[in-house]
Point group: C2
Chain length 382, copies 2
């Protein structure tokens, strides 16, 4: 299969590219290094050294004999994107090309504007490049569980049948997100649904929870193939941040009461989910929404787990509540449906003590590179 | 009150500016002539000659002795918009500054992109200019009833309490619009709701139905103050289009079966609604959504009414169904709640035979300027 990966240099994009290429798909990645640039500007650089995309592809070729195509390009440029799509003629486009940090999107006008403009323009251009160049192509888009927010009713898988005053209809599940970044994904979904029902596109929107982990089958071949591992307050997801704090010997920073519940998954399962979606495309005119997570945890549960396993490894892990920089419920109802990917064949990797231990051991190798100043929250929701 | 009107040259913006200025509010209008430029490029120019904004303001001053400030500026330019807001310090911003044509937004990539970029960027910049410069200012935003689409359940006023599996929560009413233009307003509302609940803005989002009419208290003072009256397939709303077809002696073009039902209102009532919203601002952190319409009609009912009144005036009005260029339900359930503006004091002007007759007589004066080629649908939803 021909697979075009937009945002192919990212935490998820690069492992996805390797995973598909290893399985003999023809893979082309596009990236404009937006995340690397923002990380440098905000002093949020990744823990583990990252070769640039061309070098990554070279190292991957040495390790596997498989090739991955690279285009350094900004998908906001429609002429460029449509030329790439026209020349490559993908069967599937996997769209990760978004500014992915909630805190960054809440910093100021400039960062909000960059997030809003980048994310919506790239989604808009991707839709049109597919419509104009490869209308049968399946778009696999990364959404986020954050689109739903924390409603007081069960979170269904994308859609909700509503009965009101004795009549019924089916709608997109109502969504209200907690940051501007997450809100751009709400808007992405609205936009995709418009073009799906009006022009008959085929789209899978994966509502993904926070991802943790470093190891994938391909990155295990050569440490230089490891994904971008961010542990800062801007790009680091909570599990990754706790791992680094445990190793650095600074308290794990729980925001507020720590009752915030989310659905999590292992990076290996992101790869599985994206592959399952890709190999099982939907019909034209279908918007399939799948909730991409395997387990629910509160922040406190994650902190306790990190502390317990860390202490077993001889670390002295402390947990400390800090004032919540975000505007969010700290204690709320949360119950998500997520059977769609299991039905497609997902075999989850759960967050066991062994998985936690393995991640801690990997991070330990890079202990000297940790900059503790990058972990405490720098952006407030106000 | 100091009122800043974005899109103050438009069909609604200009009458709104005059109406507020006549009542001794301090009014500043901003416009970049986007609609005039698109109308010229798409051969969709208005029926009645329109002086430019500076001339309009001069004529209005001669007629009333009241002044209106003018800035010819593109609200997509944040530095410019925030400078205007900082200098003027409005109590209310009325935001009409969007590309308002469904068909135009469905033409091709360029027109879709222009619509998407213009509408979302202007809303985004307006939000931020208020947050940064006048955080207590009340934003009155023009949405559209088209955001709701044609659901099979009653359309409530912006919000819906949902009971699901024994639990309850309240959400924005689910919305799925019929054109990209209408979809940009869905996204606007999502974005406004995010900034309202996160930063405590105060916003009224007016979900307006199609507007008809030409006459307002101020435009009656001098014919050169009439609003932009579009009758073409791109910018003309259905009532205005039918009026011109009746006068031109060409059949009224009903799209498909003609069972499409919408909520309509008279231009005079738009002015009342915007004034009522402005004089009754909401609290900080409130997003008030009001459905702005006074009557529901099917397209067939509007055609029959135009035909009957036209024939009474000695016209020979024919009605003809044409293939529907749009993708929409032609026969559907439609029942809208719209008590909010009545509760605030709205006194509706209904579409009586007398109102229809008066509009036909006004259009008749401009019969020689009608270009029939502009009326038949040129844009298809495919």
């Amino acid at each position: 299969m021909k697979i075009l990966i937009l945002g192919g240099d990212g935490y998820l994009g690069w492992p996805t590219a390797m995973s598909f290429a290893k399985k003999n798909h023809e893979v082309l990645v596009v990236d404009n290094y937006l995340r690397r640039n923002i990380a440098r500007e905000t002093r949020s650089e990744a823990l583990i050294p990252m070769p640039n995309l061309h070098d990554r592809v070279g190292i991957f070729y040495q390790a596997t004999g498989k090739t991955i195509g690279v285009e350094i390009a900004d998908c906001k440029d429609y002429m460029l994107l449509s030329r790439i799509v026209r020349d490559f003629k993908p069967d599937t486009v996997v769209h990760y090309a978004e500014q992915p940090s909630g805190p960054y999107s809440m910093t100021d006008y400039q960062s909000a504007r960059l997030t809003f403009d980048n994310n919506l323009t790239v989604t808009f251009n991707t839709i049109w490049a597919i419509l104009e160049e490869v209308p049968d192509c399946h778009l696999v888009k990364l959404g986020t569980m954050g689109e739903y927010g924390t409603p007081n009713i069960d979170i269904e898988e994308g859609w909700l049948e509503i009965e009101h005053k004795g009549r019924k209809d089916r709608f997109l599940y109502p969504r209200q997100a907690g940051s501007l970044y997450h809100t751009t994904k709400v808007l992405d979904t609205d936009l995709l649904w418009f073009y799906v029902r009006t022009y008959g596109m085929r789209v899978t929107d994966l509502m993904q929870g926070p991802v943790y982990g470093l190891s994938t089958a391909e990155s295990d071949l050569d440490e230089r193939l490891l994904p971008n591992f961010h542990y800062d307050d801007i790009f680091g997801t909570v599990v990754n941040r706790f791992l680094v704090q445990a190793i650095a010997g600074v308290p794990l920073t729980v925001y507020g009461k720590g009752g915030q519940t989310r659905g999590y998954l292992n990076l290996k399962d992101t790869l599985q989910c994206v592959e399952l979606a890709t190999l099982n495309p939907v019909e034209k005119g279908d918007l399939r929404i799948l909730n991409q997570l395997t387990e629910q945890f509160t922040v406190n549960e994650l902190a306790e787990k990190t502390q317990r396993v860390g202490n077993q490894l001889g670390l002295n892990v402390q947990v400390k509540s800090v004032k919540n920089p975000r505007k969010e419920a700290e204690d709320h109802y949360y119950n998500t449906q997520h059977s769609g990917l299991l039905d497609l064949g997902l075999k989850p990797h759960y967050l066991t003590d062994e998985v936690m231990e393995e991640m801690l051991k990997t991070v330990m190798k890079y202990k000297d590179r940790i900059d503790e100043k990058m972990i405490l929250p720098r952006v407030k929701w106000s």
